[in-house]
């Protein structure tokens, strides 16, 4: 039988970097094939080549045994290759329905046959058990839902080869389960699935075979039953990785961040945060678990001053922060790692070093009045780049040429290295490879030991549970439960994340 996809000697170069360096890879029909690798290993690039977005500089592609030149995304669709991108390719202002049908509209003449489209989508929704409102605008739905839209887009087009680039990064454990169930079903239907993830447990669970990439090259292809997580990690990074967190007990300090009865409204007037109270002491990590879209983002943004609060109060290091400007709040010693790095974290066309000082550019060490001190700024950047092993060709390159994970590292380097007293970290390791994620975790724990107060918001339940001293579950704008992580299992927390059970706040 012909293989679904055969890549032979694929090479793709970007300025200063060889993203794919002679990659040869075979993917069987009907298998789930995982691709793992460090940040910047070239996974997305390889998949984009398969999807017709990039053209390889060298190499050949065979789809079901036939040599193909995938010159455009349109050609990829003709070949029944569908891709769910790491950075969603959705039209934010369109509805879910419009996004799904775009380019493959059911039509009556020149007019869109909305009824028919609706029917087909309805069938898909019930077949795969997706809860999605086809008329909701994409800009208003949660990331997890957006993910489903992306998958639906592919299914709607009847793709035989599905490429999923880090689909689980934004999903809650339950959602991951659902996704995997669906992937298995698709596999049974005979579809071929290429799956990219940094979460090795997941990979080991779902994949039939795993290919490891490092620095643009194939390190090897393995079968899950014959490797351990540690071995896999070592293949990726090239050296042993210790995946155990050492959490030393830290004496609780003063309350550094306190939120009281906070209400934050959306533009529509609907409360997104509905009376949240919490207190975080120095030396404490407070984790917020929850499915995305339950007010975590708004909570974080309200604390940092990006959103107006309707009522309630935020106090930082003993000073009322409500009503202060973002800059003033940051000057109180608050670091902020936003969840959407492209929108809020980085100025993409600007250089790496410029992004590294963004927001801190008026600090003394970066000024040589009346101008910026380019020298110290660059030195600072070089240091962080080394520390966080950011993979780049030059700090003068514009940051949009960096891989997703490396971009995140720049943000972390910027926000964590300036001795903040309060750290608000939204999805800090989203999209980071194991090595980098581990580094970030250590960094957060170090800050904890230094007596900082940390608010950690993450969809990665395992991360929340292993790092936090206390965990709150956010559902529907409220903190519906609070635990000490050692008291609960992920499953317990998952129940609350989905709105089940109500447990009165303890401790705080």
């Amino acid at each position: 039988m012909d293989k679904a996809v055969v890549l032979r000697g694929i090479t793709k170069r970007f300025p200063g970097i060889v993203a794919n360096d002679g990659i040869t890879l075979e993917i069987e029909k009907g298998e789930v094939h995982a691709i793992v690798g460090e940040n910047g290993a070239g996974k997305s690039t390889l998949m984009k080549i398969l999807a017709g977005i990039y053209q390889p500089d060298e190499g050949e592609i065979y789809i079901f045994g036939k040599r193909e030149r995938i010159t455009s995304p349109g050609r990829a669709i003709e070949l029944k290759i569908g891709m769910v991108h790491q950075h969603f390719m959705l039209v934010n202002r369109f509805t879910v329905l419009e996004n799904i049908i775009l380019g493959a509209e059911k039509r009556a003449g020149m007019v869109i046959d909305e009824q028919k489209c609706r029917k087909v989508i309805g069938e898909l929704l019930s077949l795969y058990n997706f809860s999605l409102d086809p008329d909701a605008r994409v800009e208003e739905i949660s990331v997890g839902q957006a993910q489903r839209v992306e998958i639906l887009k592919v299914l709607y087009r009847g793709a035989d080869i599905l490429v999923l680039d880090e689909p689980t990064a934004v999903l809650a454990p339950q959602e991951v389960k659902e996704l995997f169930a669906n992937l298995r079903r698709l596999k049974e239907e005979g579809k071929t699935i290429i799956f990219i993830s940094h979460k090795l447990d997941e990979v080991l669970e779902i994949a039939d075979r795993i290919t490891v990439l490092r620095r643009g090259r194939v390190v090897g292809t393995v079968v899950p039953s014959r490797v351990t997580k540690e071995e896999l990690a070592r293949m990726m990074v090239g050296k042993p990785v210790f995946m155990k967190l050492e959490k030393t007990p830290v004496p609780a300090g003063d309350v550094l961040l306190s939120v009281k009865d906070l209400v934050v409204r959306e533009n529509t007037g609907k409360p997104a945060v509905n009376g949240v109270s919490l207190e975080i002491r120095g030396g404490e990590i407070y984790g917020i678990a929850g499915i995305e879209g339950n007010g975590q983002k708004e909570l974080a943004e309200a604390i940092i001053g990006l959103r107006k609060t309707s009522s309630g109060q935020v106090t930082i290091c003993g000073r009322t922060a409500t009503g202060l400007s973002i800059r003033e709040i940051r000057d109180l010693g608050v670091a902020f790692i936003p969840e959407d790095r492209h929108r809020q974290g980085l100025v993409l066309p600007m250089k790496v070093w410029e992004n590294m000082i963004l927001g801190y550019h008026r600090k003394k060490e970066f000024l040589k009045k009346p101008s910026l001190n380019l020298k110290t700024a660059r030195e600072f950047t070089e240091k962080r780049v080394k520390e966080y092993s950011v993979r780049l060709s030059s700090i003068d390159q514009s940051i949009d040429g960096l891989s997703g994970g490396n971009q995140q590292k720049v943000i972390l380097g910027r926000e964590l290295s300036r001795d903040p007293r309060v750290i608000i970290a939204s999805q800090p390791t989203r999209g980071l490879d194991v090595g980098a994620a581990e580094f970030v975790h250590e960094e957060l724990l170090k800050k904890r030991e230094e007596g900082k107060a940390i608010l950690l918001i993450s969809a990665d339940l395992e991360e929340v549970l292993s790092l936090s001293d206390r965990v709150g579950v956010m559902y529907n704008g409220r903190i519906t439960a609070e635990f000490r992580p050692e008291e609960v299992t992920p499953e317990d927390v998952g129940v609350y994340m989905l709105g089940g059970g109500v447990k009165a706040g303890e401790g705080a």
């Binding site: 977005i53 990039y54 455009s72 349109g74 003709e78 007019v111 869109i112």
Partner: protein, 304 residues
């Protein structure tokens, strides 16, 4: 009587702005800023007059639209194919329109700035309504283009919102990369949007020359291409919004004609009325304007 005349005058003043603004909706929804609309109106007025002079008004209108589309094609080649800055290309197109009309007018009519008199379309009376005395100025002797322009508003809306073409056009202006990954020919959609805008701007120019004045006069577009652009933005990139904005502008202009001059207010201030009123309305009505997300950004595959 005064009121209905005021309204009739408003409508006459609004129509060229409306037509061009509808064109602007098409091009901007496809993500191409077209500041060359003024130039496309200019060639519309000239070629409309030229066509009508030799072969009658219908031919004139066709020629005007073709001329507008020709300039639009240049704009599309510049901005979509070569990805030149959209505003520079528009500015150059305005200059080209001005120069070429002057050149051709001199060559063909032996007058640089005016054409001979030309015929317009037969005016029509709207049945039934034209019988009502009060409405007479509004509904009798109306240029068919005015009616066409008004009909184009719901039509444009329908095309943009309900057709396959419209959906794809919008997607290209919002997120061309996403559209591209779905196999939509981004370039073709952008070309279509720009060409449509040229066609409508050309028609609008022809309205001025054939229907309103009965001849081409250099500079008769009076910057209305820019006003139309403003109207389109004012109307939040929507056809219906463009209609209201154009009407507001036409109305305030008609109103300014009727403010008695020589009174206490210096006439220069009366001339400001349309602009001041527009600003005042804008400042008073707080509405968030949301341009298409990728408006003005040239698209190139393989770029982030």
């Amino acid at each position: 009587m005064f009121l209905s005349e005021l309204l009739a005058s408003s409508l006459r003043m609004a129509v060229p702005i409306l037509l061009t603004a509808l064109g602007a909706v098409f091009t901007e929804r496809a993500g191409v800023v077209n500041i060359g609309l003024e130039g496309m109106m200019i060639v519309g007025s000239f070629w409309g007059a030229l066509g009508s002079y030799y072969y009658g008004p219908y031919f004139g209108l066709l020629l005007a639209m073709a001329a507008g589309m020709f300039l639009a094609l240049i704009h599309a080649v510049n901005t979509v194919t070569f990805r030149v800055d959209q505003i520079v290309s528009g500015v150059a197109i305005n200059i080209l329109a001005y120069g070429s009309c002057r050149f051709l007018s001199q060559a063909i009519f032996k007058m640089a700035t005016t054409s001979p008199h030309v015929a317009g379309l037969p005016k029509i009376d709207i049945p039934v309504l034209a019988g009502i005395e009060f409405l007479k100025p509004l509904v009798s002797g109306v240029s068919p283009i005015i009616i066409l322009a008004l009909l184009l508003v719901p039509l444009t809306r329908f095309v943009i919102n309900r057709t396959v073409f419209g959906l794809r056009l919008r997607s290209v202006g919002e997120n061309p990369l996403a559209a591209d990954t779905l196999g939509i020919n981004v370039f073709r959609m952008k070309y279509a949007g720009v060409l449509l805008s040229g066609m409508l701007a050309g028609l609008s120019g022809a309205y001025l020359a054939l229907e309103h004045t009965g001849m081409y006069v250099e500079g008769m577009t009076q910057g209305q291409g820019f006003i139309a652009l403003a109207a389109m933005i004012f109307g939040n990139w929507e056809p219906a919004g463009a209609l209201w904005a154009a009407l507001l502008f036409g109305f305030s202009e008609a109103l300014s004609f009727r403010v008695v001059e020589g009174g206490a207010i210096p006439y220069q201030f009366i001339k400001m009325i349309p602009y001041v009123l527009t600003l005042a309305v804008l400042a008073g009505v707080v509405r968030k304007s949301t341009p298409p997300a990728a408006d003005g950004i040239p698209y190139e595959r393989g770029m982030k």
